[in-house]
C-alpha cells in the first residue's frame, strides 16, 4: 500500500508524545520542581520519555575530568600556594593566556604577578600537564558569563576558587599522581 511509510512515521511520533506524559506521571512531583532525574545519567538509557532538564532548578553535575577554568592549589600542610612562578604554563599555553612574574630564588621563589585571561582560554589543559610543581588544575565551573571579554583573573582569585573546588591534587581524576 502506498501510504504505509507515512503511517509508520506517525506511529513513532505518537509513541514519543505519549512517552513524555508517562514519564511525567511516573516521576511526579519531582519533574518540574526539585532536583533528581538527569536523563543522560540514568542507569538504563531510555528511548521514550522526556529528555529535558529545567535548568536553573535542576543542574547536571559535571564529570570529574571536566575542563573548566584554571585554579591554583595549596599545599595541604603549610596552606601556601605551590606555584613557584617557573613560567612553564606560560610557555605551554597555545594562546598566551597566562602571564607570570616571580621573585626569589630556588625553593623560596614566589609569584608576584599571575594573570590568567579567562576569555582567551580554550581549556585545553596543556598548562596543567606542563606544571612540574603540581600547582594548578582545571576546575569544574561553567557559569562564566561576564560583561568584559578580557576578564583577567589574578592569583588571589585563582586561589580562592581553588579552595572552593574539591580537587586536592593535580591530575587526581586523570589516573596520574
Amino acid at each position: 500500500m502506498y501510504g504505509t511509510g507515512l503511517l509508520k512515521g506517525l506511529s513513532v511520533t505518537l509513541r514519543h508524545m505519549i512517552g513524555t506524559f508517562v514519564t511525567d506521571v511516573r516521576k511526579f512531583p519531582r519533574r518540574y520542581f526539585r532536583d533528581g532525574v538527569h536523563p543522560t545519567r540514568s542507569p538504563e538509557p531510555y528511548l521514550h520519555g522526556a529528555f529535558s532538564i529545567q535548568y536553573p532548578e535542576e543542574k547536571v553535575p559535571m564529570w570529574p575530568r571536566f575542563r573548566g577554568p584554571l585554579v591554583h592549589l595549596r599545599d595541604p600542610e603549610t596552606g601556601q600556594p605551590r606555584c613557584t612562578a617557573c613560567g612553564m604554563c606560560e610557555r605551554a599555553c597555545p594562546h598566551g593566556c597566562i602571564k607570570v612574574e616571580g621573585e626569589g630564588k630556588g625553593k623560596e621563589r614566589k609569584p608576584t604577578l599571575y594573570q590568567y585571561n579567562v576569555g582567551r582560554c580554550i581549556f585545553c589543559r596543556q598548562c596543567v600537564e606542563s606544571c612540574p610543581f603540581n600547582a594548578i588544575e582545571l576546575s569544574r565551573f561553567y557559569e562564566l558569563a561576564c560583561y568584559d571579554k578580557d576578564t583577567i583573573w589574578d592569583l588571589p582569585r585563582l586561589l580562592e576558587l581553588g579552595d572552593k573546588e574539591e580537587i586536592k591534587e593535580q591530575g587526581q581524576f586523570w589516573g596520574e599522581t
Binding site: 507515512l6 528511548l47 529528555f51 596543556q126 586523570w174
Partner: protein, 379 residues
C-alpha cells in the same frame, strides 16, 4: 481582438539571481551560494565560502606539535575525535612513534562512536533541510548525541573539543564507569537506529523528494576527489579502513556498504548502514580490549618532540570522508608546513554539477546530503 504570436518567436524570459546568503537557516553554517534561476529550475550555481576562515594552517606553523592538538579539534567540530586521530597518525608516521595496544582499541571505540553520532546528526539535518520544520528527527538525533557526548566527556573532559588523542596514544586511560555505560549504550543505539529506520526510510514523501535527486556518477566522483559516504553511495567501494588500513582495523570484521543509485536517498541509506557497521566494530573492540599502558609518549617528551627532517601524510576515514594531514618537518619543534586535506571542501567540488537542472528546494537537500561542516571547509 486576439493577437497571434508567430510560432517561431520564442517566449523571452529572464533568469533571476538569488543569493542564498551566509545567513540562512539551512546552509549548515556560513556558506553562500549564488543561484541563477529560470523560474524554479537552477541554471547555474556558484558556491562562495571563506566566511569561517581562521588561518589554522598558518597559526599552526608558530606552535609546537603538541600545542597544535587543540587546533585540530576545531576543524570539523562535530567529530573532534577523528580530527585528533588524523593528526596523531601523521605525526606518528613522521617521527616513527609506536602506539600501545590499549590505546589503539580506545581510539577505535571513540572513533566509531563519533561516526555513529555524526551519521545520526547528518540524517537529522537532512530531514531539517527537507522541511520537517519542527526539528523532530533532529531532536531525536541530538538526544542520542547527548549520550555519546556524555561518554566522551567522561573520558576526555570536554564534549566537543576533546583533544584526547595525541601522537603516541591517548591522554589518559578510560575511567572505570566508561565500559559499563558503553555496554548499556550499544544495544540502546541499535534500537535507536532501528527506530529512525522505521520512521524515516519508507516515508513516501521523503522518497519522492530524494530519489533521483542530485545524482553523482561514479567516475565524476573519482575524478573530483570525493570521498566518504558520498563516494560509496555512488557505487565505489572505497573505504580507507579497508583499502589502506591504519591502526588496528584489519582485526575487525565489518562490511563496507555500497549503494549504486548515487542520489540523496542512497546517501541516506548509506549513512544508516554505516552506523550499524560501526556498532558492530564497537562491540568487537569492547570484547577484545587488553590492559596496558595508554601512551608511549607522555606529555613531557611530546612537548619537546623534534621529528627528523622529512614529510608524512596521515589519513583516516573520518565520518565525512578522507581527512588527511600533510606535515613537513625541518628538524625543529614546530612544523614547517601543516597542510590539511579537508573532507568537506573537496566534497563540495561537484555541487554545481549535481544541482543544475533541479529545483531550488533540491539545492538545499543536496547540500544537506553531502554533509559539510564549515569549520572543515574554511579551516
Amino acid at each position: 481582438m486576439s493577437v497571434q504570436i508567430p510560432p517561431t518567436e520564442r517566449l523571452r524570459t529572464d533568469t533571476i539571481q538569488i543569493n542564498m546568503g551566509p545567513h540562512h537557516p539551512s546552509t549548515h553554517g556560513v556558506f553562500r551560494m549564488v543561484l541563477t534561476l529560470d523560474g524554479e529550475t537552477v541554471v547555474d550555481l556558484e558556491p562562495r565560502f571563506g566566511y569561517l576562515h581562521r588561518g589554522i594552517e598558518k597559526t599552526a606553523e608558530e606552535r609546537t606539535y603538541v600545542q597544535n592538538v587543540p587546533f585540530t579539534d576545531r576543524l570539523d567540530y562535530i567529530c573532534g575525535i577523528t580530527n585528533n586521530w588524523a593528526y596523531a597518525l601523521a605525526l606518528e608516521k613522521l617521527a616513527g612513534i609506536e602506539v600501545p595496544e590499549r590505546a589503539e582499541y580506545i581510539r577505535v571505540i571513540l572513533g566509531e562512536l563519533t561516526r555513529v553520532m555524526n551519521h545520526m546528526l547528518a540524517i537529522g539535518f537532512l530531514w531539517n533541510d527537507l522541511g520537517a520544520t519542527t526539528f523532530t528527527p533532529v531532536v531525536y538525533a541530538f538526544r542520542e548525541r547527548e549520550r555519546i557526548l556524555d561518554l566522551i566527556e567522561m573520558a576526555a573532559g570536554s564534549r566537543m573539543m576533546p583533544s584526547y588523542i595525541r601522537a603516541g596514544g591517548v591522554v589518559a586511560d578510560l575511567p572505570e564507569e566508561f565500559m559499563p555505560r558503553l555496554q548499556k549504550l550499544v544495544p540502546h543505539l541499535k534500537r535507536f537506529i532501528d527506530e529512525m529506520d522505521t520512521m524515516l526510510t519508507k516515508n513516501e514523501i521523503f522518497r519522492a523528494r530524494a530519489v533521483g535527486v542530485g545524482v553523482l556518477k561514479a567516475k565524476d566522483a573519482i575524478n573530483a576527489g570525493i570521498s566518504g559516504p558520498v563516494l560509496r553511495a555512488s557505487g565505489v567501494p572505497y573505504d580507507i579502513r579497508k583499502v589502506d588500513s591504519y591502526s588496528i582495523y584489519d582485526r575487525f570484521d565489518f562490511e563496507v556498504p555500497v549503494h549504486t543509485a548515487g542520489d540523496v536517498y542512497a546517501r541516506y541509506l548509506q549513512r544508516l548502514a554505516e552506523a550499524r557497521q560501526s556498532l558492530r566494530i564497537i562491540e568487537q573492540a569492547m570484547r577484545d580490549i587488553p590492559e596496558g599502558p595508554v601512551t608511549s609518549l607522555p606529555y613531557k617528551q611530546l612537548s619537546r618532540l623534534k621529528p627528523p627532517k622529512g614529510e608524512a601524510y596521515g589519513r583516516i576515514e573520518s565520518p565525512k570522508g578522507e581527512l588527511g594531514f600533510y606535515l613537513v618537518s625541518d628538524g625543529s619543534n614546530k612544523p614547517y608546513r601543516f597542510r590539511i586535506r579537508s573532507t568537506s571542501l573537496l566534497n563540495l567540488t561537484l555541487l554545481r554539477e549535481m544541482c543544475i537542472g533541479h529545483k531550488v528546494a533540491d539545492v538545499v537537500t543536496i547540500l544537506g546530503s553531502i554533509d559539510i561542516t564549515l569549520g572543515d571547509v574554511d579551516r
